[in-house]
Assembly symmetry: C2
Homo-oligomer: 334 residues x 2
């Protein structure tokens, strides 16, 4: 069984993941993980994964057989366990939660060896539709408060399987980083009667120095206070709190801008490791509708996060976002 | 000139470090940094560094010459610039600060190739006294609000020079992670009329399952909600808010427990990369004296921080701290 533990001082949770349990002697810093077996995410290897919970099968092929364009399966080594209750346990001083939740893998393509910059706009649209489907499904479980969609690309960004995929972790708690964004957006709205992200969009599109892409419905920028070199945010122009509530007919425009942005990063930085995170309001919670605005963050991992960052929460970035934007705009797209 | 920028939404600062400026094409993910020149921190190579600001020279040798046991120098590639003003600039919407500050390197030994577990108790005492000296010196600059002492050990923990050293970054702002700890400690004290760290010490010493070392003045534990496998905290038994105000005569006991703890980690985890951070109250600020309690965190880097952690602030740890403590207690010390 997994366990969620809260730090006794600050509002920080940790998932103690027994499914992935190790002993100290299992860690070998110098070893590089290599794939020893057949890829569990390739077409034809469906039996290596748990049964699919969603798939895009244009040819109406049978579940857990080849023929799919995209496949969602429970993670074989989930961070959280699908045990029935989500009780908070308070010891005298320490608090923990039993580690109920969902951990799924979105296999983005049956083809091995292609990355997000290689996938077609239609592939990206298919991925975005899968994200929407999984979020709408998580909404139906009243024990879950939040579902986070993310992608780890490259070993240095935490990917343990090469074959391109995203993940979803759904928890009975709203994570701290999300709470903090919601609180800040709510405070800004109370003060200025305006959504902080709508204001950010106005500033960035009129200034233009950090803009790297734009279409009728979405904008891609370099973040003003980028923690990482080439930290990229993609925001919808339409104010919407939840990714899964965004009008479906705009998803093809998002897919187009995603593909373009991944190409820019791939070409300017030579296929960098990166993390992508969907920032969206909590499941079923409509109290943030006027002040929160979902968006996507793409975080390239070209610098080490070290003692200063861990101790302070302040990041050191050697590349000005305005310079990054200039380089990224100059990339020739295909 | 460096610049401190605040995220337009959350209370997160970033140091844009022009002294370390790069272009996107300078990043090469696959390259491993190797030392091409003589080590700037070795005895005899003092001319490679800026002039020392502090040194332990038992033989009364001349500054910037061999003969030292420990040496503190300004960082040759500082994250922050020593420009005169510390003004906050508000653009219409974005806030920044000019990047005034101090960035120093504490060269912990003249000998190349030894690590913190090899250094003697007397070496560790000498390092702790240098920390104290630098913090007391930073207190004299009214433009500085906080000074953070940290250590990166191993390339995977962000060390770019092999020769064992710590660093200090002093800023005109109190970093967010520090503010958050102070706020949480203050809230706990207001609620329970007790220091949360004093309470933690009582719980951990009476329970004992996470305890890995103890002497008359200090305790070493595995953190209850460890973000990282073998995350270790060292706390003074005596309630003190500031590291630099802790009674000097207890530093030899701290040095002894530091050496012992580094040995346990080194032996159980085969010389792991790690970060060490001193958590202490802001410079000159005595308003936290009753509720804050300085301590040291040692964070081994054996797992990748990936998309889920960046998006949620929730960490996934595959090793229970109680199991880690058991293994670390079993290490034979020399």
């Amino acid at each position: 069984m997994s366990e969620l533990r809260k730090d006794p001082v600050v509002d920080r949770w940790v998932i103690m993941s027994e499914e992935r349990a190790v002993r100290p002697s299992d860690f070998s810093t110098h070893a590089i993980k290599t794939s020893k077996t057949a890829c569990p995410f390739c077409s034809g290897n469906e039996h290596y994964t748990p049964s699919e919970v969603f798939a895009d099968r244009p040819d109406q092929s049978a579940a857990n057989k080849p023929g799919w364009k995209l496949r969602v399966v429970p993670n074989k080594f989930p961070a959280l366990a699908t045990t029935p209750h989500a009780d908070v346990r308070h010891h005298h001083f320490f608090s923990s939660h039993n580690g109920y939740g969902r951990h799924e893998v979105i296999v983005e393509t049956p083809v091995h060896g292609v990355g997000p910059s290689d996938l077609s706009v239609s592939d990206h649209e298919c991925i975005l539709k899968a994200y929407r489907h999984r979020l709408l499904d998580m909404q139906r479980d009243p024990r879950l408060a939040y579902a986070l969609l993310f992608k780890n690309h490259g070993a240095l960004a935490g990917a343990t399987v090469d074959h391109t995929h995203s993940q979803m972790i759904a928890t009975p708690i709203v994570p701290f980083a999300v709470e903090e964004e919601l609180r800040s957006a709510r405070d800004y709205h109370a003060d200025k009667q305006e959504c902080v992200y709508c204001r950010l969009l106005k500033e960035e599109t009129s200034d233009g120095t950090r803009l790297i892409g734009e279409n009728d419905a979405f904008v891609a920028i370099q973040a003003f206070a980028s923690r990482f070199p080439c930290e990229t945010w993609i925001l919808p122009k339409r104010h919407t709190s939840h990714f899964e509530l965004h009008p479906e007919n705009e998803m093809s425009l998002l897919a187009g801008l995603m593909k373009e942005t991944f190409q820019r990063l791939h070409r300017a930085l030579d296929d960098p490791p990166f993390n992508t995170v969907i920032h969206s309001a909590p499941l079923r919670d409509r109290s943030h509708d006027t002040c929160y605005h979902w968006h996507i963050e793409i975080l390239p991992k070209l610098t080490q996060v070290a003692g200063y960052e861990w101790g302070s929460g302040v990041f050191i970035n050697p590349l000005l976002p305005e310079q990054a934007a200039q380089s990224l705009r100059q990339v020739t797209l295909s």
